[in-house]
Symmetry: C2
Subunit: 331 residues, 2 copies
């Protein structure tokens, strides 16, 4: 048992629950506790909440400190909020408790541009306590940043990087279908967008990691979201969408270096969308086109967070990003 | 000038010459010397030998020590032999001189299985002198090992890894067309194969890196090479191949874990071969299929060796492999 890394799952929503289930099936890892503020979950057995079909003997607490009164731990898997103002106190609390942390928080995946001061504060704390913080996921963390960066390894020059992620949302879970606006009117979609939290989070972070690593100066960043409107009736286990209603969204981010547009990120996720693949196109010497099929968002995000555990445990203290670690692999 | 990394190019064949040309066009690098044992090159200006169209003021020496009498240096780019017995004294000599080294020597890319004792000796010397040695290239070094490993980051389970590299050799340089047997009779092909040095070098090293990193036990390894025979007359700028003669080769390596075949590597390179792409297929959770177009071998190998300079300069001393470094990128 001494060699097993003791994990606390912080956040037990759909992704956190699936992550806890995966931790329980991985050799080398031991789930020792769970944290969630949801009063309908606090006090219940983790196995019950995550749909394990058996009890674990571990009850969910609303505070990390309560878990740590009962058990020692090594590393926290953190899946609560995407947004810096919400997760920052949690990340600080985890590091303060002397634990490594791997988070799926999009805005932490490369915080050195949009949240430089807060990032420096987390980094300083991590170094002071000798622990490591990392945020990762399939996107941001992989498809639109660390993987394209890895592909530039075989390029002598790069003039442009385009990444297009297209997902047939009919194949995904209900909350994902909801998140992309399925069933809304176009007016509702734009109203929600105006309220600020419609669309995929993390495109600026992917741009930041790529520009910073390649030594490019980011002079302008544009991003837009628009609805994909159903042209035929669509039925999923979760939504019935009439023609004219929203079936998903398309988001495009453009990032410019002084010499012009250098990176274009396109994110399309819609019900009944035929395309279901990712394409990375690098214009340079050589020109590269890389097509990926099968990069299911939930499975992949859980995998990369758990697979990163080994590298994080070996890493130097501090707030790291995916471009700082040796390649993360299954282990 | 103080910030530029001073490079010696060791080996000025086709790849070494192209690498030297690339070093000369890269900001942050300074070519300070060249080594080659070929008496037709020794004493000539590097610019003349590599087809630069101008003189560099640097004359080629047959010994590294001679170059180092004239200049200080930081790192050697090494492109001489694929085979351990031939390159080992050169790598030791470079480290002994207090220089970092990046080599394209296939058998050095992951030497911990086939050449463990020799590798340990190089590693010990590197640590003693505080320098870093790495071997890389597009294959081994990337397509069949570090890139598939990187793709396992988004997998929760992996049952099998298949990599197929298919190259239309008509698009490649003459020496490559010759190396794959173009124009030979089938008898000549098999005779050369029996002599031991026909086929792509590096498949066992790719297998070794993947198995070792994923914690798999390698219980059996099989590899076979066969000719691709022309079924129509083929004309390239370098070869005229009649039907029935050899147009290229197909090589398959199979690597087994205790539970069965885990990794299959297929390497096809032939004149007029329609397929010109690489496919990485991972069977697991999720199933992934990744297709790459444009991974030109020479351009990519030169790129990855030169791009690795930054990571090697930052790395801890020792003999490293691509899975030990943070992702190599253009810089």
């Amino acid at each position: 048992m001494a060699d097993r890394i003791r994990i606390i799952q912080y956040g037990l929503g759909p992704i956190g629950s699936a992550m806890a289930r995966h931790v329980l099936e991985r050799a080398g890892l031991e789930l020792v506790g769970g944290v969630d503020v949801d009063p309908t979950k606090v006090g219940r057995d983790i196995g019950d909440v995550i749909g394990l079909g058996r009890v674990t003997g571990l009850s969910i607490s609303d505070k990390l400190s309560t878990v740590l009164e009962r058990t020692a731990a090594d590393l926290v898997l953190h899946t609560t909020s995407s947004y810096f103002d919400r997760f920052k106190p949690q990340i600080m609390e985890i590091l303060d408790a002397g634990l490594d942390v791997i988070s799926t928080a999009e805005e932490l995946s490369f915080p050195w541009l949009a949240h430089a001061e807060d990032a420096a504060e987390i980094d300083a704390l991590a170094r002071r306590v000798g622990k490591t913080a990392l945020a990762t996921g399939v996107n941001p963390g992989f498809l639109m940043d660390s993987l394209p960066l890895n592909l530039t390894a075989i390029c002598q020059q790069v003039q442009r990087i385009d990444v297009r992620r297209a997902q047939n949302a009919s194949l995904r879970r209900g909350p994902f279908q909801a998140k992309i606006g399925s069933g809304m009117t176009v007016e509702e979609f734009y109203a929600k967008m105006a309220a600020g939290r419609m669309g995929h989070v993390g495109l600026p972070e992917s741009v930041g990691m790529v520009f910073d690593t390649l030594g490019k100066q980011l002079v302008r960043y544009e991003s837009g979201v628009e609805p994909v409107v159903a042209d035929h009736p669509i039925q999923t286990p979760f939504f019935a969408v009439q023609p004219g209603r929203v079936a998903g969204l398309k988001q495009v981010a453009r990032a410019y270096a002084p010499e012009g547009e250098f990176m274009t990120l396109t994110f399309v996720a819609a019900l009944d969308w035929e395309e279901d693949c990712d394409t990375i196109t690098i214009t340079g010497r050589p020109n590269l086109e890389v097509k990926l099929k099968g990069t299911n968002g939930d499975i992949a995000t859980i995998a990369i967070a758990v697979n990163a555990v080994r590298r994080v445990r070996q890493a130097a203290p501090g707030l790291l990003t995916m471009r700082d670690l040796p390649i993360v692999t299954l282990w």
